[in-house]
């Protein structure tokens, strides 16, 4: 039977993680981590390691749901970046990416190249602080790199990273919407809570629609990753792209709207809006451009062979077939 909800065992782990993060990763901890040398919280990392997150095994759905919680709490540690390699090779503590910037708090990285996936230690040197308050270090393929997989594995990691990255973004987006909703109920102007004004209510309703849509896309993308659905442990490219692109636009919408609803307070560093807003923008920019992924999706559906290979798009099992009458009616332009 169709069921759009996360599996109960996945949800149980996510709720336990939420409880842990509520205790160990309050907003003050996020702020403190920004002052650390590598922008991460060693204490939180130890707690998450004890929880089992650093050596977790399981489905793409479990990783995505977990990434959502880490995003929701703005957890200052490079766990989401290490999920692709952990999930697909079983190797913990290796952050994934292309040549460029990696989280400075990690010790080693897996670099994706057309020739395969290469693991190497992350270089020392001075990490650079990003707008989000975390720290990145630049890495290119080095002589120390060891090939740990072929191009297919690198491709799977890329698709997996889109899924978990999207989940982290959307987790942050929902937490920010919760904060904004609470503020709109409490903040009084013109003799009433500002949430009673349609200008505020309609704006937040639109954000809720976008975030719900993004989260449901993540669920379905995680579902399509399962081998029993024809997946290879990571979502197929069309679902990975859709999950990421929607997460980027939905969370930017949430961040912009939160600033507007909080008014001047939303720009004050004492308020938490900026903690979310900065991370949402940086996390989105560290991934591939959503527009480029969507353009490729457009090319994909216009290529008959690639289109016929699409799985589970919309209500179809495979491809994008037309009803019989439409095949006949539309077959000859100008008929």
């Amino acid at each position: 039977m169709i069921d759009e909800r996360w599996d109960p065992e996945v949800e149980e782990i996510a709720q336990a993680l939420r409880k842990l993060l509520a205790a160990e990763c309050p907003r003050d901890e996020v702020r403190r981590a920004e002052e650390q040398e590598r922008g991460a919280s060693a204490a939180l990392m130890a707690q998450l390691q004890a929880f089992g997150l650093t050596e977790m095994e399981g489905s793409a759905a479990l990783f995505a749901r977990t990434a959502f919680e880490l995003g929701r709490a703005l957890a200052p540690c490079p766990l989401v970046e290490s999920m692709p390699v952990l999930a697909l090779t079983g190797t913990p503590g290796v952050v994934w990416g292309h040549e460029g910037y990696f989280p400075a708090a990690a010790d080693s990285a897996a670099l994706a190249t057309p020739d395969g996936l290469f693991r190497q230690p992350l270089p020392g040197g001075t990490p650079r602080r990003t707008t989000a308050g975390d720290f990145l270090t630049r890495a290119a393929l080095s002589a120390e790199a060891v090939r740990i997989g072929d191009g297919a594995l690198a491709d799977r990691c890329a698709r997996f990273a889109l899924l978990t990255g999207a989940a982290r973004l959307v987790g942050a987006g929902f937490a920010l919407l919760d904060d904004t909703r609470t503020y709109a109920c409490e903040r009084q102007q013109f003799g009433r809570p500002i949430g009673a004004f349609q200008a505020i209510g309609h704006r937040l309703a639109a954000v809720a629609g976008d975030l719900d849509a993004a989260e449901l896309l993540i669920r379905k993308a995680a579902f399509t990753a399962a081998p029993e659905q024809g997946g290879d442990g990571a979502p197929p490219m069309h679902f990975a792209s859709m999950a990421w692109a929607k997460a980027v636009t939905a969370t930017r919408h949430a961040a912009t709207s939160a600033h507007q609803v909080f008014g001047g307070n939303g720009f004050a560093m004492d308020y938490d809006v900026q903690l979310f807003s900065r991370r949402i923008r940086v996390w989105a920019m560290r991934g591939p451009r959503a527009d480029a992924l969507l353009a490729d999706l457009g090319r994909m559906v216009l290529d008959p062979q690639r289109r016929d290979a699409l799985t589970l798009l919309w209500h179809h099992d495979r491809g994008i077939p037309l009803p019989r009458w439409a095949r006949e009616a539309d077959a000859v332009p100008g008929r």
């Binding site: 169709i2 759009e4 809720a208 579902f223 457009g298 798009l313 332009p333």
Partner: protein, 386 residues
């Protein structure tokens, strides 16, 4: 978590798929001609009869009227109906009438109406909005005065889709002249051939007629009261929640998008990067819209509250349908300017450009839906009434 229907989930969908295979373009063209003759939105009696013969009306109702199907099974069937391009309005409006009677009617009303709904004999429209009561539905003035075993109805209703071809209207009236807002409203099943009823066409942008229905001392048997006298608002809110859980545009847009994709198949090189991006964007948004819509169906199946998620889905799909068709017509160019023409896809796109304009109004405007999402889904305070 499972997004792939199994054989049991798809039982009724697959029955519909088998019917759909009988419709090549000549058969669909004949259906469309019937719709034109009826002068009505996506409603063909012959197709409604085909559904009745296949026992596909009211499938979620308990036996002996329906087949005790699950809501998700009905969801998949309704989705198939729209994405195959069949006229589905008759099914939804008649099921809404029957469902209202099943939830609120007397045993006698249920025994009379339900068998005739599933056989296709009885058909229903709604009588809610009035010239002075649109989004503010509770400002309605149509009255019903009790006289012995009858009610005497006076007033006017507007935007009554399919009133000119329906057997009954579900008429929301004020039975307590002293009542205000939702107090003192009642729901009457009024036969549309009753003396004193005048039905006038109102032409709309989509190309069909809706109706203004005038009631001049119309006598309605008191046994046609649905629910308690004065309890009409509770009866009709069940209908409105059901209506808001319908797809308004998103589902049918998948078919338009699929037809566009097939028309442009192999021609990506002719599209700008901007249009390729927008095509990918709409493929993504249509998937997102389906998931929001599907969630409402699954929540309904589980008995969960859909009064917030339904409107959220409605706004998302209806606004998406408008954005898509505007872009698609821009992309396809001049042939979509003309209601008449040889190219069926272009003609259909032109029609949809007009049809889609109403999607953000019917079933409650986007503004009303966003109010509901803000209040019921997000828990924001209501705006004080003036």
């Amino acid at each position: 978590m499972n997004f792939k229907p199994d054989a049991e989930d798809a039982l009724f969908r697959d029955r519909l798929r088998r019917i759909a295979e009988d419709y090549g373009w000549p058969e669909m063209e004949a259906l469309r001609a019937e719709i034109d003759r009826l002068d009505i939105e996506r409603y063909a009696f012959s197709f409604q009869q085909r559904l009745a013969e296949a026992r596909l009306i009211g499938i979620t109702w308990p036996e002996p009227f329906g087949q005790s199907a699950r809501v998700d099974q009905q969801f998949l069937m309704a989705e198939e109906l729209e994405t195959q391009g069949f006229p589905g309005y008759g099914l939804t409006t008649n099921q809404r009438g029957g469902g209202m009677i099943l939830r609120n009617g007397t045993p006698e009303q249920i025994a009379e109406h339900l068998p005739k709904v599933v056989s296709g004999e009885y058909t229903y429209c709604q009588g809610l909005s009035e010239p002075g009561a649109g989004s503010d539905l509770l400002a309605l003035k149509t009255s019903a005065r009790r006289e012995g075993d009858e009610y005497v109805v006076n007033g006017a209703k507007l935007w009554s889709s399919s009133a000119h071809v329906s057997t009954f209207t579900s008429l929301l009236v004020r039975t307590d002249p002293g009542g205000t807002r939702h107090k003192g409203l009642s729901l009457l099943l009024v036969p549309l051939d009753s003396p004193g009823i005048t039905i006038q066409p109102v032409r709309v942008l989509g190309g069909w007629r809706v109706n203004a229905v005038f009631y001049d001392n119309v006598r309605v048997p008191a046994k046609n009261l649905v629910g308690a006298e004065g309890g009409g608002w509770a009866v009709i809110t069940g209908n409105l929640d059901e209506e808001r859980a319908m797809s308004f545009g998103g589902t049918e847009t998948r078919l338009f998008c699929a037809r566009l994709i097939h028309r442009l198949s192999g021609r990506a090189g002719e599209l700008s990067d901007s249009d390729l991006r927008l095509l990918g964007h709409f493929v993504m948004e249509l998937e997102a819209d389906r998931l929001l819509y599907l969630r409402v169906g699954m929540q309904a199946q589980r008995g969960e509250d859909t009064s917030g998620s339904g409107p959220l889905s409605k706004v998302y799909g209806s606004e998406l349908a408008q954005r898509f068709i505007e872009w698609a017509c821009d992309l396809l160019g001049a042939e979509t300017l003309f209601p008449e023409g040889d190219d069926i896809l272009m003609r259909d796109m032109e029609e949809q450009l007009r049809v889609a304009t109403v999607l953000t109004n019917i079933g409650g405007t986007s503004e009303v839906q966003r109010n509901i999402v803000a209040n019921r889904y997000l828990g924001l305070p209501r705006e004080p009434r003036g």
